[in-house]
């Protein structure tokens, strides 16, 4: 069963490595830990 040949072409632009955005997750964790620490210290101080 004969099929005709076919061809398609596209151009693609390849850039350097994508910039790695600093993740906000570690910052949020640090803030949360700090807040817990501050609240903990305040709580303990108040109890005394």
């Amino acid at each position: 069963m004969p099929f005709a040949p076919a061809k398609a072409e596209v151009k693609v632009e390849v850039a350097g490595k994508p910039e790695e955005r600093p993740s906000v997750a570690p910052l949020l964790v640090a803030i949360a830990l700090l807040a817990v620490g501050v609240l903990g210290v305040a709580y303990v101080s108040k109890r005394r």
């Binding site: 099929f3 005709a4 040949p5 076919a6 398609a8 596209v10 632009e13 390849v14 850039a15 350097g16």
Partner: protein
């Protein structure tokens, strides 16, 4: 019983052996393409005008089935432009056959077949095929894999594009002319993952080779 002498005479021209040569402008075609047949009637090497010639497909009874009839010109030529149909006389679909043969035959003045027959010309009719690259990122990044997706379809006599007969066919994918993979087609779709290691603008080419080296390629 005496009888006077009597005589009768008529002129007859005896020409050299007749021969028919058949030529065609292309032998790899798609349905609806126009093929030009040229039959040439010669007596030895002299063109014969007004010869009544018939073109017919081999395998069919030339008494009943032919694609054209006509007379040779002063150069001994009978030319006919034939639009390639999907089916000959409503029978087997031409792209389902490896080729179809054609011959020319000389007819006498009453339209009967003679023994003067041409060489056979074989024409292959192909299913039209279309290949597309339908998905590719507008921008890729060095070293980051991305997927190229495409389609491969053939046109059938209903005028629609189908994929069934191309199931499992392979597509050659090139990056700037270098083969990077041969994904298989499934349900008319193919895909390949790529990774490019240096920045720049690249050409991705997807190519379906077809069944035979047919030169007419449409670049999408």
């Amino acid at each position: 019983m005496p009888f006077p002498p009597a005589s009768a005479s008529k002129t007859i021209t005896v020409v050299g052996a007749l021969s028919l040569q058949l030529e065609v402008d292309k032998t790899d075609v798609l349905p609806d393409d126009v093929v030009t047949f040229t039959a040439r009637l010669l007596s030895d090497s002299t063109p014969v005008a007004n010869g009544y010639v018939q073109l017919y497909p081999v395998g069919w009874d030339p008494q009943a089935y032919f694609i054209a009839r006509g007379y040779t010109d002063s150069e001994g030529r009978f030319t006919y432009e034939w639009r390639v149909p999907w089916r000959l006389f409503g029978a087997t679909k031409l792209p389902d056959q490896p080729y179809q043969g054609f011959k020319a035959v000389l007819l006498d003045e009453l339209g009967r077949l003679t023994d003067v027959e041409s060489n056979e010309i074989r024409i292959t009719v192909y299913y039209p095929v279309t290949i597309s690259i339908v998905e590719i990122p507008s921008q890729a990044y060095v070293g980051v894999p991305f997927t190229v997706r495409g389609t491969l379809y053939y046109k059938d006599e209903d005028g629609y594009w189908h994929h069934e007969k191309l199931e499992g066919a392979t597509v050659n994918v090139y990056l700037d002319g270098e083969l990077v993979g041969t994904p298989a087609v499934s349900h008319g779709d193919w895909s390949i993952e790529m990774r490019i290691m240096a920045p720049g603008t690249y050409t991705i080419t997807a190519e379906f080779e077809g069944s035979k080296a047919m030169t007419k390629v449409e670049v999408m």
